[in-house]
Amino acid sequence: MTQEAPTSTLDLAAEFLDRRTPVDRVRGILHRYPAISPAVVLVIAVIVFGTINPRFFAAANLSLVLDQVSVVGTVAIAQTLIILTAGIDLSVGALMIGTSMVMAQTAANNGLPAPLALLIGLVAALAAGALNGLLVTRVKLPPFIATLGTFNIFIALTLLYSGGQTVRKADMPELLTWTATALPIGDVRLTVGVVIMLALYALVAYILGRTAWGRHVYAVGDDEDAARLAGISTKKVLLSVYIAAGAILAVAAWIQIGRSGAASPNAGADLNLDSITAVVIGGTSLFGGRGLIWGTLLGAIIVGVFRNGLFLAGVDGLYQTLAIGILVIVAVAIDQWIRKVRK
């Protein structure tokens, strides 16, 4: 009895101090589970679009949505890693397209075996990612500026290297376009590219959530000084994040070749901003250290669902873009609001 007294007094005091409104509680929950808000948006969007046009729910249509987001969804994995470190990468689209040209040209024009062509593309993407990483960690450029520079450099190099020529499907070995192969499961027709994208999400989710490196990525984005004082080699972590992004973009390049059935140096111009859109809608904070990779997948699918659903509802393409723009602003506004959790 005597021992319980102080405890219950403390409980009372805690209850007295915990005068949070229901709104504050919701904010606290969203703060703890950042993937909730995109999940809610996706569920509502699916219900609304499905009600407007029942064809939306057709297995073939849902498979199509996934296929349409497979490239941007994969690019957005790389973007998420970088945004988690409080950076941003404006060069992801250009890097990915450049890589796809390296893969296609070495196979089609230089006649290298397809696996070797893919490997050379991977090496090129790793080198390009390392360049971004070195500019950020060694030259100490802000990631925005570093990748704005390399964005232009990668575009120019891609056009110089390819001579502006598209490599057609007929000229490429089958392995390069294998990612477009459909794997029918009943009415659902997932492409190899979609399966690879989902596997990559699972892999990165594991690495971010269950390994020391993943935890360090969050710590560096959260407070770089604190991470350094805790004994983390922050520069190594940052550099490795940009190199990992290069590897992921090489996979995206392979999926891109399959999806477009060709390798074109002029494709993918929107991918930089589209990938940031997916990350932001997915609830990852642009200020770093906060977010979940699964949120990005939801974000990418939300964009795909909006475009597809509005299209099926007979809405003009311009309104699709308008809707995406509003989504981005709402998503960032919600993030700002969530971050104002009581201290």
Binding site: T211, A212, A219, D222, D223, L229, A230, K343
Partner: protein, 266 residues
């Protein structure tokens, strides 16, 4: 002048060999002399406070002890062995843990992750060696034990993220981390500077618990009541030199301030 009158006023020296000893450290910045031959001894199981006015060389001294600065002259001994720290990480590896004024905790990570940040433990077997899986459950359990051992009653849930904690609780996280890894010395830089009365008391209690666990503490503080409450001995730094080493029993707070400002000579 001042250095010659030190000896008779030395505080009674605890028995045994010092855990950490600095001998005649000198550190200059261009023509500015930060440390002018400062010696310091820290013994097992004691709280040694370092006080001094701004510019007296407190921070420079601490930075030399924790590897943030490399002294120009002088020697550093840890457990009787001479050591040379080139980086803060060297000092940490040797067992000198520092809790910085700006705390160095990661707000978005939970308490257990913060305790193990930078030295995460992996699972045993191939899950850990091949798949690099963290032993999250084990680290949480040990974090809980550590928090209990230090008597930090305010940190009950080690899975709550640090940004939801109060200033005193964050300080407790930082101190718990410093004490967690078999460290030989814990250095606390102004741990109560940003805290209210109640939270300051919790941190002071925590310092006493550290001492109770046999870990010697160097406490840098401006706050005389706090220093006199927990310190066993007080190293007074003035104009780049050790003006005196006193104890709360031998001198009053007024005496300490007088030595600090040069109004009295120990």
């Amino acid at each position: 002048m001042t250095e010659t009158v030190q000896a008779p006023h030395q505080a009674p020296v605890p028995s045994g060999a010092p855990v950490l000893e600095a001998k005649r450290l000198v550190k200059t910045f261009g023509r500015v002399v930060g440390l002018d031959g400062v010696s310091l001894q820290l013994y097992a199981g004691e709280v040694l406070a370092v006080i001094g006015d701004n510019g007296a060389g407190k921070s420079t001294l601490i930075k030399c002890l924790t590897g943030a600065y490399i002294p120009d002259e002088g020697k550093l001994f840890l457990d009787g062995q001479e050591v040379h720290f080139k980086r803060p990480q060297d000092a940490r590896n040797a067992g000198i843990e520092t809790v910085y004024q700006n705390l160095a905790v990661s707000p978005a990570l939970d308490v257990a992750s913060n305790l193990y940040l930078g030295r995460e433990r992996r699972k045993s077997g191939i899950l850990g060696s091949v798949f690099r899986a963290l032993d999250t459950a084990g680290m949480r359990k040990d974090a809980r034990d550590q928090v209990l051992k230090l008597g930090i009653s305010t940190l009950q849930d080690v899975t709550v993220s640090v940004e939801n904690l109060s200033g005193g609780q964050r300080q407790a996280v930082a101190v718990a981390r410093a004490a967690a890894f078999g460290s030989k010395v814990v250095v606390l830089d102004e741990p109560t500077a940003a805290l209210g009365v109640r939270e300051s008391n919790q941190v002071l209690e925590l310092i006493e618990n550290l001492r109770g666990n046999g870990i010697p503490v160097i406490l840098i503080s401006h706050n005389m009541p706090h220093v006199f409450q927990v310190a066993d001995r007080i190293h007074v730094q003035r104009l780049g030199k050790r003006a005196a080493t006193i104890t709360p029993q031998s001198h009053s707070m007024t005496d300490a301030v007088a030595i600090m400002t040069g109004a009295a000579q120990a």
